[in-house]
Subunit: 116 residues, 2 copies
DNA sequence: TGGGGTACTTACCTTCTGGTTTGTCAGCAG
DNA sequence: CTGCTGACAAACCAGAAGGTAAGTACCCCA
């Protein structure tokens, strides 16, 4: 899964970052460095637990996020970006720029979200 | 449709370019400048007519591609990128770079395609 | 008369994605 | 003993996305 074959690099990149919440997850992790599962969940209003885990697992499989499990009770799991994840985030920069301009151009609404 | 609300610019950009063939269409049009429907179809091995038209129409609605119809028989329709489409393509550049490196890293296959 | 080419449209079907709900484990507060 | 927490897992379901097959209109060529 997510191993091609691909037409080109964009095709491959979209395969990795194409999930509904994946780009947002990257953005959250980029901004905060490290987040616990519950923090991510609260930072992404509207995502369900199942889907968030799904997307995180896929990103982990693809080497984009790192998952650190602590054998504690209650359980603690911390997510962060790998080097590849940081590179992907950088590569998404111009696309985000374009998208922001598009939002202004078409007058679309923005969903507010609390950073930090 | 495709008018938000969005969390951020990447969210909005993915909404526009997220279809299965849209990035490939952009790439084809970027490389060739102008393409007729049949040329695009032949350039994108595996796409069906229905889906190609669907994606082209959506890209047209979003102001990414320009559709020029000639009232001839047999019919002739030419597709090209708008200014916004060209800007979007530029913004996809780094992502394509990242994706190409990923293809090499994981040793994924590439689907060959004849340019020109 | 019949087939081919162009750019579609329509109906139908399957697959894939995401969402809802409920259950799990361990311990701790009440 | 019950309920709460954190990070999931499993079962189920709805809608969207994509794919297949056929039909449309017009003309040219043989």
């Amino acid at each position: 899964m997510r191993d091609g074959p691909y037409f080109c690099g964009i095709d491959a990149a979209m395969d990795v970052v194409g999930g509904k919440w994946k780009a947002l997850i990257l953005w959250e992790l980029h901004n905060s460095g490290i987040r616990r599962f519950g923090e991510l969940r609260r930072g992404l209003p509207g995502v369900s637990e199942k889907v968030l885990i799904q997307q995180l697992r896929e990103l982990e499989q693809d080497g984009i996020v790192y998952r650190q499990v602590y054998a504690e009770v209650p359980p603690r799991v911390e997510y962060s970006l790998t080097d590849h994840g940081r590179a992907l985030n950088d590569a998404l920069g111009p696309l985000g720029e374009w998208g922001s301009q598009r939002i202004e151009r078409i007058g679309a609404e923005r969903i507010p979200h609390h950073s930090g």
